[in-house]
Subunit: 399 residues, 2 copies
Amino acid sequence: MNANITLSKRAQALTSSAIREILKVTERPEVISFAGGLPSPATFPVERMREATDKVLRDAPQAALQYGPTEGFTPLREWVAQRMAKLGAPVSPGRVLIVTGSQQGLDLLGKTLVDEGSKVLVETPSYLGALQSFSLFQPKFASMPSDGQGIDTDALTPELLAGARFMYCLPNFQNPTGRRLPLERRKALVEKAAAAGVPLVEDDPYGELSYDGEHLPGLLSLNPEQGIYMGSFSKVLAPGLRLGYVVAPEPLFSKLVQAKQAADLHTPSFSQRIVHETIKDGFLDTHIPSIRDLYGRQCHYMLDALERHFPTEAQWTRPEGGMFIWVTLPKGVDTTRLLAKAIEQNVAFVPGAPFFANDPQANTLRLSFVTVPAEKIEAGMQKLGALVKAEIAGLAQAA
Amino acid sequence: MNANITLSKRAQALTSSAIREILKVTERPEVISFAGGLPSPATFPVERMREATDKVLRDAPQAALQYGPTEGFTPLREWVAQRMAKLGAPVSPGRVLIVTGSQQGLDLLGKTLVDEGSKVLVETPSYLGALQSFSLFQPKFASMPSDGQGIDTDALTPELLAGARFMYCLPNFQNPTGRRLPLERRKALVEKAAAAGVPLVEDDPYGELSYDGEHLPGLLSLNPEQGIYMGSFSKVLAPGLRLGYVVAPEPLFSKLVQAKQAADLHTPSFSQRIVHETIKDGFLDTHIPSIRDLYGRQCHYMLDALERHFPTEAQWTRPEGGMFIWVTLPKGVDTTRLLAKAIEQNVAFVPGAPFFANDPQANTLRLSFVTVPAEKIEAGMQKLGALVKAEIAGLAQAA
């Protein structure tokens, strides 16, 4: 017997993700991988979470294992609201939706805000997972000109912004570049978006992982009534729980809740209660600094290794937080081809092209520094630097 | 500052769910609620899950808290494949996708199979959560004629089936009716769907909760190569974990995986490992019979109470498994209006109309019997029966 499966147009347009294929390669233990987007498991507070789990299963086992409200576990929503207030963006708990990882927030925003052909403004480059998630709803991406500091707000003309369903921004230590948007640009961005009537979506998984420079106010704190904000416990606690949150104004908030109900009814009660139990007494205030210290050290190892091993023709970002460095090689170098050669030598990174919604720059690549030991960073960058030099020499010969 | 939020067409079409509003009312402790779709928390194996959680956090804490593959935790996928084989439907673990509750499976099927206006075949009535989930992708539902035994396969004409993207069926103890499709109809259904080239989606959260009658082969076991199957741990273990699975053939399987990656990257590693640890040594073989016993007893309490308190003009299903009884009142009785009166007397149920994709039957209602103690079933049915009698008397007077 046979069924004729007819895929939807959006499913036909789906292609297997570069990240997925790369992650498969990097599972081989001999590979030094700068390709991952994984936080360091050394930062997972296992003992604390074991205690929290124990307490949840002792004090409220039936509620923790039962269906729960779509909006999320009330004490956790209240915790998020308080945290946001501390960060300068006071919001009501009633505007906080707990989601199954902030990736789900992206899916829900795409569902509720994007029709086929809708204009969506994104950075150049932007987070690949967001581009993939929004793509399912068939938008037309408009790329905002960006430089090493983020969106070039001077280049945001009324024509570019006009009619966009939303603007998707990662102001803090963006994946993939690690860049942080300066304060003046934040203000300009919020003003220009408001003037054009374009909702601002601020995706902020790395905001608290700042190891250099000073804290900058988030877009939501510059625009508390109308901003849309996405946060995550993946980078400050553990990603295997899939727990994040979205803050949104009405009428969007109610639609997000309804879309979430259709998507998975609610985020697992069990993990919401465990996370709340873990963090409710201020645990993150002592825990996050230890992550910052580790990631700051790791970042400097890699920046030092880049200086030593990469040729002067290469440029890279110098992040003050987060997990990633972005490298731009001379025009003509194709990092997808470079990756094939790197993997032969058991080194991996992510080619930059998929992070561009339009006009991919094939000469860019993303490096993650958080999970690789210092000596492997050194060994891996040495190999990669030599490959880059050989590529550039090849270009010069061909010219 | 102001943002002009323009909702997508699909979000504009979203309305707040009847179930959601009803669940709010039933939170009041004085309400005897037959409205819930919740399994009985008395069946949650808390002690066993505490041990499993402990073991997971002792043996593999970092893997349990880290990102994982989109397809799911391999040992759990293998467990599902073995379980399916036991139930007569051998499938490869490579065709099993672990999802964040089977509700997510519905969302992913909608995403990958439904374009605006696509024909989707559903039962009359069908599961409300599925109708809502598919609706986001703007299908055109075609209702299959159904009776107290389920889909009337004689009424499935080639015209009705032609061009449908899929047929959505709940053959075992369907939500909302509790009915089970007889074997001959299962065979006819699979044959007719195959002849028309229509993929069959079998949603089976209640299949193992059979307390009367004999086990019937599932649609997948009648059509192992091409069938699409959805299973859940919500009703046999605990729903608060949000854990289910989808079995699908290629090329659909790969598209489901890609859509899931965009939706939430993967199902929480933590809960997948806990559930696998809980069930891997045959736990469900002793646990499920205890749920069957409880639900069977509860079902009979309610059937007895219906006999005693409901008027002869009312009809109801006599389930051999699952959690629900479906009541059909004389034409002219509007159960939404009845619900308002019932809630004044602190009794709740779910009006039947929202379960119909087309031509809602306002004289129907759904009763859940699993969480209400016997004496409250008696008291609640007495009140509800009196209200029903009064409604019918009112109809007769008006006529």
